[in-house]
Amino acid sequence: MLELKDVHTYYGNIHALKGISLKVEKGEIVTLIGSNGAGKTTTLRTIQGLLRPRSGSIVLEGEELTKIPPHLITERGVSQSPEGRLIFPRMTVLENLEMGAFSRKDKDGIKRDLERVCIVFPRLKERVKQKGGTLSGGEQQMLAMGRALMANPRVLLLDEPSMGLAPILVEQIFQIIQELNKQGTTILLVEQNARMALSIAHRGYVLQTGHIRLQGDAKRLHDDEEVRKTYLGEE
């Protein structure tokens, strides 16, 4: 469904992605793990069109994404809960969610998805009139995810959804991700919490300084000696 082939992305002279190739199939949860600065966020921003790769290709269901502007990439079905959440602080929770559906025209579908988000995140429902900036960190994370869901994406990109959350909430967020996937959403999940990510994902990629270092079945990665040592902190 989504395929990256030999993608190279630069920040000025800094070569951040040095030939990333990965695939996400329909209905999968694929996780991208790696230490700080490995290039996980850069990968998601490149897929979304916020950064332009210098070479390589990104194909979504047969269509090349590297040639079209970001707002059309969203329209084609890519949305994300970005690193740092980037919610709209002075808009209400409801307005934030509505913005998530900005590129859609199907009023009924939008209404249905709004109801779905309210069921998935009852906390947001209680706070629809509140300004986004006044939510707690965890609630903002839920808002960022809810907003991304409002686009009814073909591929949902999640950048560290467990960041800064209490352990109970982390567990809850991962359950929600699994639930969304069961309902049919294809997910590319970036995580620091490799153990959790690998436990819910179908497949995984390990990123190291801009290269794909390892890839494969999530269970296999979970049992891999190198992964256990480096990313799961086991001896």
Binding site: F88, E98, G133, R147, A151
Partner: protein, 359 residues
């Protein structure tokens, strides 16, 4: 800044004001008796201030819209307003209407001038963004600021050149740099005396009423637009976080271009309005008006639509008071002093929110 530092600055300012203030016309021992002997003048200046402030406010809306969305002080904005006044003058000249023309002729000329001026300044502003600012959007802030100052100089020279084309536009008069006379088309009927029949010592003319009404409706319309329409929401989203707006599927380049279109249209409307109100236009008018409008926007809280309007009225009133009671030569200095004081003590302005959450 620590509290004692603020106190010190206030003390130094009061000291300077009392000793050097009279030079700049701020002599309370002259002003207080003057007001006491003729209080109606104070009310009159208040009304004049609000009317002049309305036009400043419309220009301030343009500064605030653009700053809100790309954090650029568009120094060329005042000059776009000047071009709006020149375009209106040219069109009205082409119609050949004067104070003696019939009401219908005047209305047609004013309507066409309005459409022409607004279309012209809107196009100009969008072009400026495309040519001078868009490429610099990700460069350091200073780059686009300097670009804006450059555009301002260019536009002033366009105005000077335009004013010299008297062969094409006879209404431009003799000298390229001289102020151009705008024909008196609205008339100065006194609302209090002639329409309401009140016998009061202050006057409030149909012209004053016109500018105040137009400015207030524009502000209210703009607020509603930004609050409720799809494009308005896209503007707010882009202003709050450009990357997030892109993720939402908003075409950020188009939204920014549209913001310049709105700002340019407002400047064009203000240009026509000032011509009808003050009956004069000159190629340097954008600088003074720009200074006052920018100060208003900062005073009200830059990025805030209601704030720009409030700031416009307050600066208009300050300028009218300064003209009457202080010294008209020092009016711009007083406006600048307000700008400095606001930037030191309340950089977010009267209605501005803290900038903390801006990404």
């Amino acid at each position: 800044m620590r509290p004692w530092q603020k106190v010190l600055i206030v003390a130094v300012n009061i000291y300077l004001l009392l000793f050097f203030g009279p030079v700049a016309g701020f002599d309370i021992f002259r002003i207080i008796p003057e007001i006491a002997s003729k209080p109606s003048t104070l009310l009159q200046q208040l009304l004049i201030g609000i009317a002049n402030g309305s036009i400043i406010a419309i220009i301030a809306l343009g500064y605030t819209l653009v700053y809100g969305i790309i954090e650029l002080v568009n120094f060329a904005h005042g000059d776009v307003y000047m071009l709006g006044a020149f375009m209106s003058l040219t069109i009205i000249g082409a119609f050949g209407v004067t104070a003696e023309s019939t009401g219908a002729q005047k209305i047609v000329a004013i309507l066409v001038a309005f459409l022409g001026a607004v279309a012209f300044t809107a196009t100009a502003n969008v072009t400026i963004e495309r040519v001078a600012y868009r490429r610099l959007r990700n460069a350091p802030r200073l780059a686009s600021l300097i670009s804006a100052i450059g555009v301002s100089f260019i536009l002033q020279n366009v105005g000077l050149f335009w004013g010299g084309l008297k062969a094409f536009f006879p209404i431009m008069g003799v000298n390229a740099a001289a102020p151009k006379a705008f024909p008196e088309l609205i008339g100065r009927i006194d609302v209090f005396k002639d329409i309401l029949g009140w016998n009061v010592p202050i006057s409030f003319s149909t012209k004053d009423l016109l500018v105040i009404t137009v400015a207030s409706s524009l502000m209210i319309g703009l607020r509603l637009f930004v609050q409720y329409t799809r494009l308005g929401k896209a503007m707010r989203a882009t202003a709050e976080n450009r990357d997030a707006a892109k993720i939402m599927g908003i075409d950020v380049d188009r939204v920014i271009a549209f913001t310049f279109l709105l700002g340019g249209s407002l400047a064009g409307a203000a240009g026509l309005l000032v011509g009808l109100y003050n009956n004069t236009a000159v190629f340097t008018m954008g600088f003074t008006a720009g200074l006052r409008a920018f100060t208003s926007a900062v005073l009200g809280g830059i990025g805030n639509i209601t704030g720009a309007m409030l700031g416009g009225f307050l600066i208009g009133i300050l300028a009218a008071f300064s003209d009457q009671y202080f010294s008209s030569r020092w009016t711009n200095a007083w406006v600048f002093a307000v700008l400095v004081l606001v930037l030191v003590f309340r950089p977010t302005g009267l209605l501005g929110e803290s900038i903390g959450q801006k990404a």
